[in-house]
Symmetry: C2
Subunit: 112 residues, 2 copies
DNA sequence: CAGTTATATAATAATCTAATTATATAACTG
DNA sequence: CAGTTATATAATTAGATTATTATATAACTG
């Protein structure tokens, strides 16, 4: 799954997650997104390109601005992958539970 | 949130996700995990170290083996972060909905 | 049209990552 | 104990990533 590669590695950067958090409040232009960071505008442009490449944001053209907003695609993909993990964890947890239960009942037999 | 950095970047690698998928079937030793990959054992050891550092797996010592299994911690953290995104997406979706509804009712007024 | 604003791209340097091979360690096995 | 097995660590190298500055582009503004 090459898309998950891109999505997860896009999310691995704190600046990019901060950008997404900002976009969670709604659409924003590149300058608006760049403003809170102690980082050059080209650096932010590059981060946005990465986020766009990962399907995490989309952009429209509005005169000289490129307002960005969140896109649901990549998040959905990640969710699907995590579902698999959650299921596995639940299963393993149940297994652990039954092991513990078995140990407990052995112990109880000892004590009889 | 430095832990999310580590967790997401651990998940950005397809070999590591494959290892996690294997571990979803249950505990496995380093050799068992390395076997399906066309990759040296030290490379796998390093990947496991990354996964452990991210809190995605835990290891026990069993003689000369180090069986690994999934740990729920990092997944939980990622879930929390995604919850925030999901909420924002839902909110933005609602907002879009209401914009569309407004556009629709303007149009209807035109047609009267 | 000249100047400014919003954004993108390119060149470059610094840092990080992931793989390999070689080697170390420590536990099993005969 | 000697040899083997399971795993880890180190040195090295190749490639990717991130930031910077300088510059390009294209749309607004007076």
């Amino acid at each position: 799954m090459p898309d998950l590669d891109t999505a997860f590695s896009a999310l691995a950067d704190p600046t990019r997650r901060a950008i997404l958090a900002k976009l969670a409040e709604g659409e924003a232009t590149v300058m608006e997104l760049a403003q809170p960071f102690a980082m050059s505008q080209p650096a932010i442009s590059r981060h946005l390109k990465v986020l766009e490449g990962a399907g995490l944001i989309v952009r429209r053209v509005e005169g000289t601005r490129r307002p960005c907003r969140l896109a649901p695609d990549a998040i959905r993909q990640i969710d699907q992958w995590l579902d698999m993990m959650r299921a596995a964890l639940a299963k393993n947890y149940d297994r652990l539970d039954s092991v513990l239960a078995a140990m407990q009942s052995e112990k109880e037999q000892e004590n009889e």
